[in-house]
């Protein structure tokens, strides 16, 4: 049976440089990151090059992605949230394309590595902290003090609020990472059942149709998950940014 973990291996394609004693190589993961960032940029620039008043299909896709993310921000963080529009848009598109490309067989899923999702989540966390303190100063601590709470349970509430705030980057990053990892492992396991059964004679080939059907269904589910997790990542980012913009509960 094929190793379901093998698909997550990082392969060094060629070394690049050395920073602080760490070897920096161009890896398969790097290749797919370059593909995602370059692909998104090339697609958006190519489809909007004609700046048509009446968009063709591909320009509609570009505009749709723009309006989708813009609506998401405005519904969760209000008009002021549009300051972070390029950041949230980049985040959403990067995660979405990385997730979707990873579903193609023999590709690598950038977002199935905790270091990537953690780095993105910590970036969001730091932006919330820095923008919150820069914009509101010490009033940013109001975030942890809900209004209308009796004074005797306030310490407990503040403790819970601080704890939940600090655990945000963990849940934010693990959610995406775990979804991608689990989905790809499941797909791989069921796909390997097909070859396993298929090599066991005529009866096995008949039996292999069941996992094949399952893999087809799972692929559809994983497509949904790939989109949904990118959306969840983006909308959680918006909700956290909303805290930095409006710290009062």
């Amino acid at each position: 049976m094929a190793d379901p973990i093998h698909q997550f291996n990082i392969v060094n394609l060629f070394p690049v440089t050395q920073i602080g004693g760490h070897e920096i190589s161009f890896t398969n993961s790097a290749a797919f990151m370059v593909l995602a960032a370059g692909g998104i940029t090339a697609f958006l620039l190519a489809t909007t090059a004609s700046r048509s008043l009446v968009p063709n299909r591909l320009q509609s896709v570009a505009e749709l992605s723009y309006e989708f993310v813009a609506d998401t921000i405005q519904s969760t963080a209000g008009k002021e949230g549009m300051k972070f529009f390029p950041f949230v848009f980049s985040l959403f598109m990067f995660v979405l394309v990385a997730n979707l490309v990873g579903l193609i067989p023999y590709t690598f899923t950038v977002t199935s590595h905790i270091i990537i999702t953690a780095a993105l989540a910590i970036t969001v966390f730091l932006i919330v902290l820095i923008y919150g303190f820069w914009k509101h100063g010490l009033h940013f601590f109001n975030l942890f003090v809900p209004k209308g709470i009796p004074i005797y349970i306030l310490p407990l509430i503040v403790f819970i609020e601080v704890l939940s705030f600090l655990s945000r980057p963990i849940s934010h990053s693990v959610r995406l990472f775990a979804n991608m990892l689990a989905g790809h492992i499941t797909l791989k396991v069921f796909a390997s059942f097909i070859t396993l059964l298929g090599s066991a004679g005529i009866l096995g080939i008949a039996g292999a149709t069941l996992p094949l059907a399952l893999v087809v269904a799972l692929t559809a589910l994983e497509l949904l998950v790939a989109f949904l997790q990118a959306y969840v990542f983006a909308i959680l980012t918006c909700i956290y940014l909303n805290d930095a913009i409006h710290p009062g509960h």
């Binding site: 990082i10 060094n12 370059g38 940029t41 723009y66 390029p86």
Partner: protein, 178 residues
């Protein structure tokens, strides 16, 4: 893709850590994530999103302008319709005024004609009545003269004497009065 190199790089029999938790790969991943994500962010923030935003804004502005233009044209046509209807109503009113004026004038004229005709007819009627009365009086005086003659003749035939003229006239007048 490069799956074969993965195995050639790892020494045989070496237990590989679970790849997502292999900290040796973190530096490279973070390095490329920073490069690609910063590139993506700059391209989105400086080129792609302003362009798409401008396309959408231009379209929205065009739609708004067209709608405003259509609204203006509609208002203009409404105004033209209103002025047309006003002109029509004015013309109708004027027509009615002229018609009623004409009707009044003609009625007055025919009334005047009728009046003069009536007075003329009345005058003629009065003349005729006068003539009738004169003729009647003349005829009545003739009747009494004939009656007196007849009475005188009758009395003369019966009595053989000619009655006195005054007595006959008185008797006839008395008989006529009854």
């Amino acid at each position: 893709m490069a799956t074969t190199t993965a195995h050639t790089e790892q020494p045989a029999g070496h237990k590989e850590p679970f790849p997502p938790f292999n900290s040796q790969t973190f530096a490279s991943q973070l390095f490329w994530l920073v490069i690609t994500f910063v590139f993506l962010y700059v391209m989105m923030a400086k080129v792609a999103l302003p362009r798409i935003g401008a396309i959408i804004d231009t379209r929205q502005k065009r739609i708004d302008d067209d709608l405003a233009h259509a609204q203006k044209l509609k208002a203009e046509s409404d105004a033209a319709l209103a002025s047309y209807e006003k002109a029509l109503a004015d013309a109708r009113n004027r027509g009615q005024a002229i018609a009623s004026e004409m009707r009044d004038k003609q009625a007055a004229a025919s009334e005047a004609t009728r009046k003069t005709l009536e007075t003329q007819l009345n005058a003629k009627l009065a003349d005729a009545e006068k003539t009738i009365a004169a003729t009647k009086t003349a005829a009545m005086s003739n009747v009494s003269a004939i009656a007196q003659d007849a009475a005188a003749t009758i009395v003369e035939r019966l009595t053989g004497t000619k009655p006195q003229e005054q007595a006959v006239a008185a008797a006839v007048a008395g008989a006529l009065k009854r």
